[in-house]
Symmetry: C2
Subunit: 557 residues, 2 copies
């Protein structure tokens, strides 16, 4: 598929006299940081679990060497170059080196299965793949799926001779850098050219390619900085993986402001204490991640004899709604603010950020503020949003009407790359998110469900997510899932699957009574099944597809 | 002159899949503010000196009515529409209504003489001019210069019948709004189309037209917000005139963040007490202006029994270097930070902002920090800067080498509108500012002179501004000017003109000794002339052209 023709032209007769032909290139961001704040630090975790640091000036020199090295081995503008790495400094360097050259950085989600990841590398026609040494087994597992790769570039502190792998031909990142010139004459790239590619698995069928433009990344960075309230004085730790959705754009927004950056390298949810320690030691003020990462951090902080002062810290939280108890816990123990955000691979991704409006500051009680923090927030400048109802009509912003969230804007996807079908997601210039939500009169978005998980009963929608969250608020419940089961009369009816905490007990009647605080009687699940565990997907979400299949006949007859 | 052809195309083979064809329009900013923060306030000063307020929602409705009204009277995309007004709410509405329609807002500098202002209106071929009632005499004085104007639109709270003017045909803004629909279906405009025009008098010959694009204004707004550290919680009072250089872009940056805005209407430097009172009452956190406005504010604050708490306030100061004593005064009395900035009509205008880098926070003593505040600051993200020496070579950033400041970027001028000549200001894709400055290793710019005022002696440059500032620091000196006088051997040599304070005395030797603290012996003025007064231009600057002509023969022979 080709790029769309430029559909507009400047208004005739009175052209602007500005440098409008100068292109928004991501190289501008790292070059600015290195020129104006050369001494600013980038702290990174080493494979042995220690921490090291270098400066934007050091980093930029390696970015230049990296671009020269890739050019020297034949990488051309438009070529796709894969990266398989944690949130490392080398990964950060490649964020600039590959796209700066005009090539396209392929974000390789190491959590995907070998077949899907191989498909992604093959579909994107990656010419080279850069692999962190620790991920060589992942690369080896997909190598057979991507015969077109011309070479694998291992990233390691060890010399090439000590690297054990079946990958061939094998190159060495540090060797390439050492041989390459330290100065780079960057091309000025048309801003509509692809900067990076990220494949989404949120659609039906095979993963689909989202190819971000330089323009989209540049504009998204300014939007993230302004709408999150980031300044020159911030220190950012991107915990969200850099291998998917560019860590929500935080590395680039931080670079725009030449912020001190702390890169956590490889980490696990069970082992977030070193990250928390680094946040304290380095003075991190902006971080991002999922509740699954933040929750163990809070538990670790609870064990600390002296609580850290995180009053400047904003923890951007996405993926799923964070428990209110966790948000309060961070605030009460450290002063940190957990800030909900909403977005998707297709939206670069920031669509909403939950900030308290200055006009609400005086109006809301403390309790009302906490309730507000359960919403996903205000739409950022530049993105258009609308809610579409079941009949395709646009719904009012009344905080009640739930419809599919549709988005458009300069950094919102307009199509999938070279896809046989677009999954019906692009309609009338809008991207259909597949998420259901409400917008209140103050402009706050609340995501209530995935459209495929929403329970359609008697012409009404019941939010499975809201019901799950409320169930998990019951003291006896450890985990819960709510799904819609086909029903002859009502189309669907809810079924709840509940895992009890060890040593606790609850009955269906008790849980019904608990849910009654927020749900009408007709919305309550017809059955509550007590189970050992909730089936999960590879990324840890409730596997509702599987549960729906398993229980499809439960309300039959 | 036509717009340049699009010189680039997306890299082939791998297009982006994003909504790159969606245009950056300024309408996006006001529409976002009105949709997401409809209740946020805009406070404005009324002609009787009182204050009134309305909301973004109210404002946006009037913006829509204004655009519909202008369309109804025949304004077409690309037409120029002049505005002659103070920093009023109607002016703010026109910032969005005129360009949103695809027409071009002509900024009419009411401080220009009738001939120059008439030339500007005529050269731009303004079709309509909107005039605040108080400025009808200014419009009447230029009417003869602009026969092409189809109508004058008076802005007043009085009915049309009570307006006394010779202007014809005369329309009434409030009548037009009342008759126009409140909903507007905004066109999506190619972002390279002109948003507004501002004529610069900083060149030789006639004023020259700078036509800002929608793209330039949008990007400049994001850059101002990020580089000044503005957030959702700011409250902005644009004191810099909105009729020239769009008040340095502050109204648009404030709208991007849906900030509360306080519009000071008509004010005078002698009467800044009401502005200061409003800053206290409304909680202003960002303002802008020249030292000539801030100085009387400080004097007023000195008289207040209770000093205001301005710890959140940043006062963006431009035009000329603010006295250090004034910066310290504000800080010590109120906690406010005076923040120097540098720019020009041709640069939209923000080029540098003087913020303390986080990496310098620990390193510098309090005294060093104050010294640093005398510089104009760090170049903003997205603007390229270089210093050109006398031989056209690029100079190092060592804090010593002084060269002409050259700039380029997406919101830096690339030409003048329909100009017979470009004054030699556009060279190799760079705009030559005509200012001389240095850049230090930390990236801070210091403007040392206008290039035409710099003294060229024996192949070296001597800064006239630095020497004048130091002379005025001498207790006996009330005013001083330093100019270059032709010299047979050294090309030029400095001459100092000095006005002594009443009752004080000084000799050339004493002043030489005083200057010796910062200048080398060869840089000292060959002569110090004690005079009654320094000749000034109409805007109060030293008239160096006249002084150079008067003293041209002083070092001859």
């Amino acid at each position: 598929m080709n790029a769309p023709a430029q559909t507009t032209a400047p208004i005739r007769g009175c052209p602007s006299t500005m440098g409008d032909e100068r292109q928004l290139n991501t190289t501008t961001l790292i070059r600015h940081a290195a020129r104006t704040h050369p001494e600013q630090e980038i702290v990174y975790r080493t494979p042995d679990g220690g921490w090291a640091r270098y400066t934007y000036a050091d980093c930029y020199e390696r970015v230049c060497r990296g671009a020269n090295a890739l050019r020297a081995i034949g990488v051309q503008p438009g070529d796709r170059v894969g990266v398989l790495d944690w949130n490392s400094r080398r990964h950060f360097e490649l964020y600039w080196a590959i796209p700066g050259l005009g090539a396209v950085m392929l974000q390789m989600n190491l959590r995907l299965g070998a077949e899907d990841l191989g498909y992604v590398a093959g579909h994107s026609q990656a010419r080279y793949v850069l692999v962190d040494e620790s991920l060589l087994p992942v690369a080896e597992a997909i190598a057979a799926h991507v015969p077109g790769v011309q070479g694998w570039i291992v990233m390691s502190d060890k010399p090439l001779a000590q690297i054990q792998t079946t990958l061939a031909p094998l190159l060495h990142y540090e060797d390439l850098l050492a041989q390459a010139p330290a100065a780079m004459d960057w091309p000025e790239i048309d801003e509509r050219s692809a900067y990076s590619a990220c494949y989404t698995t949120g659609t039906t069928g095979r993963p689909k390619g989202v190819y971000y433009s330089h323009r989209a990344i540049y504009l998204h960075s300014t939007t993230m900085a302004t709408n999150l309230g980031m300044t020159l004085d911030d220190c950012c730790m991107p915990i969200t993986p850099m291998f998917h959705g560019q860590s929500w754009g935080l590395p680039q927004a931080a670079t725009l402001l030449a912020n001190k950056i702390v890169l956590p390298g490889r980490y696990q949810a069970e082992d977030t204490a070193p990250l928390t320690d680094a946040m304290i030691a380095e003075g991190v003020t902006v971080t991002n991640g999922a509740p699954a990462i933040f929750q163990p951090m809070l538990q670790y902080i609870e064990t600390l004899p002296v609580k850290p002062d995180f009053r400047r810290l904003r923890m951007l939280s996405g993926a799923t709604e964070p428990p209110l108890s966790m948000m309060r816990g961070f605030y009460e123990l450290t002063g940190a603010e957990v800030v909900q955000a909403y977005g998707a691979t297709e939206t670069t991704p920031l669509v909403t950020v939950s900030r308290l409006k200055p006009t609400l500051r005086q109006k809301l009680s403390a309790e009302e503020r906490w309730n507000l923090k359960r919403k996903q927030g205000l739409v950022v400048t530049g993105v258009d949003i609308r809610l579409l109802g079941q009949d395709g009509q646009e719904l009012p912003h009344d905080g009640q009407s739930a419809g599919e969230i549709c988005l458009r804007g300069p950094w919102i996807s307009a199509r999938y790359h070279d896809a046989a079908d677009n999954d019906g997601r692009f309609v009338d210039g809008w991207w259909r998110s597949g998420d259901v939500g409400t917008l209140d009169a103050d402009g706050y978005l609340k995501v209530t469900d995935r459209i495929k998980d929403v329970i359609k009963s008697g012409g009404e929608w019941i939010s499975s997510i809201d019901m799950e969250n409320l169930l998990m608020g019951h003291p006896a419940v450890r985990d819960a899932a709510v799904i819609g089961i086909p029903h002859a009369k009502w189309q669907e009816r809810p079924l709840a699957l509940v895992v009890l905490r060890p040593g606790h007990a609850a009955t269906q009647e008790e849980l019904h009574a608990h849910l009654g605080s927020a749900f009408a009687k007709w919305q309550l699940p017809d059955q509550v099944l007590f189970v050992e565990a909730i089936p999960k997907t590879s990324v840890g979400k409730n596997d509702k597809k599987r549960m729906r299949a398993e229980h499809a006949q439960r309300y039959a007859g």
